[in-house]
């Protein structure tokens, strides 16, 4: 599903160029559940942003569902972000003036759905993430965990095949972190391809594959350890 070939990302700060990703090769299949780990500054977010079509690589190839992303225009990238990818951020990134339902409906506005379709579908997803009784709350009237679930609902609303989450539990306490991870795990079990960035091994262990990033290179792509998803959540 995701195919990265020698992805390089170099930032330019005046005269000096800062290499952040220095040749990433990575293949992620449909339905996989993957965690990216690595020290701060190792380039995890940069990699996620490239996979999420928020940024373009400096060089290298990126195919999503067989489509060559590097050849697409900005508008086409926007469309891919709109309905092929759901992105979840550490800081939730909800619009403060909109309530939960309106936030979830937003991607559907840009997809061109009618108001009724949007309302119906957004309610459906909010029920899925367990927020049926918080639909008209604004982000400021929700807890961190609830806000992140609204953000996940928003990511899901246009039926993406790929869910990207950059430190989705980074701003949450341990208990709500696990609730959010349980939700993502459930979604993966139901078929969505999930890729998360995390600092915590405890969180990463819930996935099936851990990628270690160091200084812009993949150090280790580990699928050998055994995830016992069932036991912990019981």
């Amino acid at each position: 599903m995701i195919q990265l070939k020698e992805i390089v990302k170099t930032y330019r700060l005046g005269e000096v160029s800062v290499p952040v990703l220095r040749g990433i090769d990575l293949i992620i299949d449909r339905g996989e559940y993957t965690a990216i780990m690595g020290a701060s500054g190792s380039g995890k977010s940069t990699l996620m942003n490239i996979i999420g079509c928020l940024e373009r690589p400096t060089s290298g190839g990126y195919w999503l569902n067989g489509q060559d992303i590097t050849q697409l225009s900005d508008d086409e990238l926007a469309d891919i972000r709109n309905y092929q990818i759901g992105f979840v951020f550490q800081q939730f990134n909800l619009l403060p003036r909109l309530n939960a339902l309106e936030n979830v409906m937003l991607p559907m506005v840009y997809a061109g759905y009618s108001k009724i379709e949007r309302q119906q579908r957004a309610e459906e997803v909010l029920v899925q993430v367990g927020l049926s009784d918080r639909m008209t709350n604004r982000p400021s009237q929700l807890s961190g965990g609830q806000q992140q679930r609204v953000a996940i609902a928003r990511a899901l609303v246009n039926h993406p095949e790929l869910l990207l989450a950059d430190e989705p539990t980074g701003a949450l306490d341990t208990k709500t972190s696990h609730e959010v991870m349980d939700l993502i795990t459930t979604l993966n079990q139901q078929g969505i391809t999930a890729l998360i960035v995390t600092h915590e091994l405890d969180i990463a262990r819930q996935t099936r594959r851990i990628i270690q990033l160091q200084d812009g290179l993949i150090q280790q792509s580990d699928t050998s350890f055994n995830h016992d998803l069932g036991t912990r959540t019981k």
Binding site: N49, G52, L54, E55, D74, D75, A78, D79, R81, N82, Y83, Q84, F87, F89, N93, L94, L95, R97, L106, P107, V109, Y110, A111, G112, Y113, K115, E117, R121, E124, V127, Q128, G130, R154, N158, H159, E179, D182, L183, T186, L187, Q190, G191, T233, K234
Partner: protein, 435 residues
Amino acid sequence: MKLFNQTSKRLSTQPLYTNRRRRKLNMGETIGLAWSSLLANKLRSILTMLGIIIGIAAVIAMVTIGRGAQAQTERQLKSLGSNLLFVQSGVALTGSPASQGAGSATTLTWEDAQAIASTCTSVSATAPVLNVRAQVVRSELNTNTFIVGTTPEFVQVRDFLPLTGRFFNQADVEQVARVAVLGQTVVGNLGLTADNAVGQTIRIQGEEFFIIGTMEYKGSSQFRDQDDQVMIPITTIASRIVGVNSLQGISVNNISVSAKSPEEMDAAQFQITNLLRLRHQIVPPRSDDFIVRNQADLVSASNAVSRIFTALLGGSAAISLVVGGIGIMNIMFVSVSERTREIGIRRAIGARSSDILWQFLIESIVLSLSGGVLGIILGVTTSSLINLALGWQIGVALDSILISLSVCLGIGIFFGAYPARKAARLTPIAALRSD
């Protein structure tokens, strides 16, 4: 897990909505979005609109006042009599119909007036006017007014009829009769009424005059209060009041001429000019010692005043609108930088840069148009008050409202374009990183 068990069935079902090609954004919703974001900053929005409000109000008031003044002028000129031409003594300064010399020297005579009436085929009648300011006394009351010496044709030429009694006739002129016809202002100033004035006597410069009639109300024009004058036969004023008999006969200040029809005004003017040049023996290089003016000249002279006024109002309206537009641009820049993160979020979930462009452009247009609507309300109110104060009956023209709205639309687009473009050009990731 309990939380999700109940919903897991739903999640596994086939999606109800398949990925589809995007449609254009709904304009109504974009406008609604702009509204809500302006309402979120009510005071700021109102203050931003102020320049537009004042500018548009000035435009509406300007148009109303301009039209009112013009209608007023036309009404006044019409009250002078139809097809009216004025021949005045004096030397015409080049290109200036309102030259200072006009009427100061007395080169015209009563005979000129008679000659014009009998010779010029496009002229139906002439009325010579010899006037002077004088004190009019009746018992202990007195008033300073214009004494107009003229002939009976005055009634026809000026379209000015007696209200009570009668105007003097040809016999009165021939007999140098001491008869007077009073304008209503004079009647009032002398403590009389239109009904009891006839038959009374007044004194003009010590000479006793018999009131034989009063004139209808005419109202004031910017030329003269036509109700504040006393008409006496031209022979009487020449021999008893002024006494400027030139060699050619009785000198007059001006001659009012009525052309046979509006179409013959130009012909009449031409004929009069030629006739008077002949009579006054004017050959080059001598220049004319008279001026023939038609109503169009008078209208354009008086319109010049209202045009200056209109231009002043228009200028301040334009400045106000430009300042208002810059205010909108400024606040849109503020809005863009305040909402950079919002822009980033919208881009991240699939908004194209054109969606962002429209969002901010529409917001600027809504801001400007709202200012325009408030400005129209203010302008219409002001215009109504002006109408009320001046007793005009000038409605606010629909076209000035439509023009105002299109100007506002233009301002919204022009001054909103740059901030909106700035917003649209932000890259998703740069916008998301801002706080």
